[in-house]
Amino acid sequence: MIPILRKLGRDLPAMLGLGIVLVVLVIAILGPLLAPYPEDAAAAHLLRRLKPPSAAFPFGTDNLGRDIFSRVILGARGALSIALTVVSTAMAIGVPLGLIAGYRGGWLSETIMRVTDVVLAIPQLVLALALAQLMSPSIESAMLALSLTYWPFFTRIVYAETRRLSASLFVDALRGIGASTPRIVFLHILPNAISPVIVRATIGLGFTILVAAVLGFLGMGATPPAPDWGLAIAESRTYLPRAWWYATFPGLAILITVMGFNLLGDGLRDIVDPRLRRSR
Amino acid sequence: MMPVLSVRGLKVSIHTDDGLASILDDVGLELERGRILGVVGESGCGKSTLIRAVMGILPKGASVDGGEIWFEGENLLAFSEAELNTGVRSSRIGFIPQDPLLALNPVFKVGTQLLEVMRWHAPDDGSRGNARRARHVARLVSLLRRMQVPDPEQALESYPHQFSGGQRQRLLIAAALACAPGLVIADEPTTALDVTTQHQILLLLRELVAEFGISLLFVTHDFGVVAELCDDLCVIYAGQTVETGTVRSILDAPAHPYTRALLACHPDRATSFLGIPGTVPSPFARPSGCLFAPRCLDVRPLCLSARPPQGRSSSGAEVRCVQYA
């Protein structure tokens, strides 16, 4: 772990990404404590509608007079929890499937991998929209749709790694000393295969935040009055271009968060990728 | 007679994350025309850095801190990168790599790859365009036939994976000789090969040296191969030449304590497998005295304080040890 962090320390963009991710994480955890007007998650103040940025309201106010700064801060928790739920659900489905398909071989492996290919071919947004229509739009339907479309990425990565690792000498040596299959798969292959999974998950977090925002924007995700970044941009459309701050600050929040996860993921990939391991 | 290659007091160090590593610390050797010089040392002694220094392909962060490299009367260290590229590497110094599979690009035909080298590096004979290419093809075909590659014309049209390890090594020997160099450097070219194939390649190299009048610098860790192939021998320890002389004189009567200890480890000669106690000094902290002193069985007080001078053994080898000063 220490050498990974040290290598990451030399990679400026990755450090920037890590910084952003940590800040977003802190904001998400402490949200209501940091926001100047935590009650603005739901309240409406019709007297101060659409005020431009000022000392009292750094990001201005929205059409219901709510402090946008507070709502951006409060929105971090929602965005992150959607992302974490989706990615961990996808991992929980994808990683075991990849392990089984990679280590077992035979018809089971073939079946799993063909199903994976089929699911991979479905566009994420389209399935999410269809599910939202089917189940009535909500955060839950968005999360379900995203999880159901994201797991194949993990299956493919873990499958490839497991195939490579189970042909490797150390697995052969373990079989030689009589290690059982669960021991080999879970204690040896899984830890060795986990680095690219973490990379993919990091990038996946950013990606999911973006897609969740798109769903919110389309009205298929978060429902008002939730302080959702995508929803805020959708609501702001009516007041553009006059209330420019209404769309700009939630948009920047999405941009910076997604960029942070991507920079961190790219940095991690450079460290983990064996082809790049020699170059510093 | 002027030696083809003469390296004197070569010092190379590399800047790493952990500090300055002294890789070569006074390496000297001479290779006469038409001879085969074996360079022997254990891993990490600086063999490959020596090759890279001579060919001018030191890795990033490495610098030559002292010494000279004379090749056919010219100081290679004074050459620019462009001069080395167009006028020395491949055209006047050929190279045979250790792993023939890594040295060939799997997606191109063998002929394409060898002709590309000749296109840039073959000596100018006045011909141009297709005529020049045809001459190159003819030369490659005759070279491959000499290397005992069956059906050379077909071989040029084949891909690297279609050859066995031994045949691939023959292709690369042909590539090294294609531009008629005066010096060929071989980096452990037979370690990946089977015994009988290795034997064939060694015999082939001997014949080629005599036929083409080239000089061969043969880097290896295997004394058996040296005994089989080489005329002269240069033993390197921790970036220093410790003993140079003819193969017979050194194998029959090794003078330097390191050479003696190393030969005593060879299964053909060992009385008991004791190895050499201790480890090679770290390139980051080389001792001030003799580099082998901490492991030497004959160590004297003088050895620990100052670098030993060059001496001469009774069999005529140059030895870096106070016993022969």
């Binding site: 052969d172 030689g176 | 066995s164 089977d194 860790h221 005994a227 050499i276």
Partner: protein, 366 residues
Amino acid sequence: MTPEPILALRDVSVQLGGRKGLLRRTVPPVRAVSGVSLELQEGEILSLVGESGCGKTTLGRTILGLQRESAGEILLDGASVGGLPSDAARRARRTIQYVHQDAAAALDAWWSIGRTLAEGLLIHGVRDAGERRDRVVAMLSAVGLDPASARRYPQEFSGGQLRRVALARILLLQPRVLILDEPTSGLDMSVQATVLNLLLDLRERFSLTYLFISHDLSVVERLSDRVAIMYLGRIVEAGPAKELFADPSHPYTRTLLAAAPRLSGRRASGQSLVRGDPPSHATALPGCAFFDRCPIGEPACQASMPPLEPIASAHDVACFRAAPSGAAASVHHRATTARSAASSDIVSPLRISSAKPSLGTITVRQ
């Protein structure tokens, strides 16, 4: 009467690969090992020698049980342990262990050495963590490593140290037979010497029997009690090491011995000993597999496979032209020599003229 061998192979054959497919192409299996019989006496070192692709590693894995034999019998202490799927085979043969050639790749880089060593004990039923720790520490010192190295990771060790780690890991399982796959390849000579020394020392201390797989004839000659030479999945010659090195009988053995680079130096001959490259299994023919490269082959060799037959006590050779020892043999040898056309070339395989097409005609201008 020799005592019962600790391990015996009777006519073992192994087929590799092969696939019958509905959706995919059917691939015929490759016969990697054909009809190998071997006996390993308790405490001896038997070397299995051959070039890459001769089946020596496959044979090692088959003895271990990781590869299933397609025919033949494997006896451990006289009891059959053959014909089992790999899990059952490993259980029945837990007193046989295998030490990989590439010690670094055989270790999980994510696990510390101590944890890796203790894992073997755990698998073999040592439940008490304290006992595991004690035995790991004791074994690390036994192979000449600092017990503190238990906390370190494989990347922190040198090649020689990793071989010691690999040996410690296997020896903790209290094996009786060790299959050592090229245990010194890739090591520097001074390190190789210490590893060989350790192997000899451990054999004494733990009363081990070694099956030593190697292509380094210098090491084999020094270390082995007996040697078996493999060519294309078959044993072509087997006998006591001293005898085999002093008086090799099979033309392939002679070729191999003559080709090995030795300190004694350059041989009088400047000519190739053997034509061509080691063949692949795809080219296997009904007759002797070595025929197309053999300097003394005759038509009979192409018609049928020469069986492995004794020419002296405990010395077997699979060659129609091999000279049995003794007076009758030398007469026979002279007779066969006279019969073949190329006379003097045959006597010493060192001077067999190899096919060098048109050597003199090609001169490349410098």
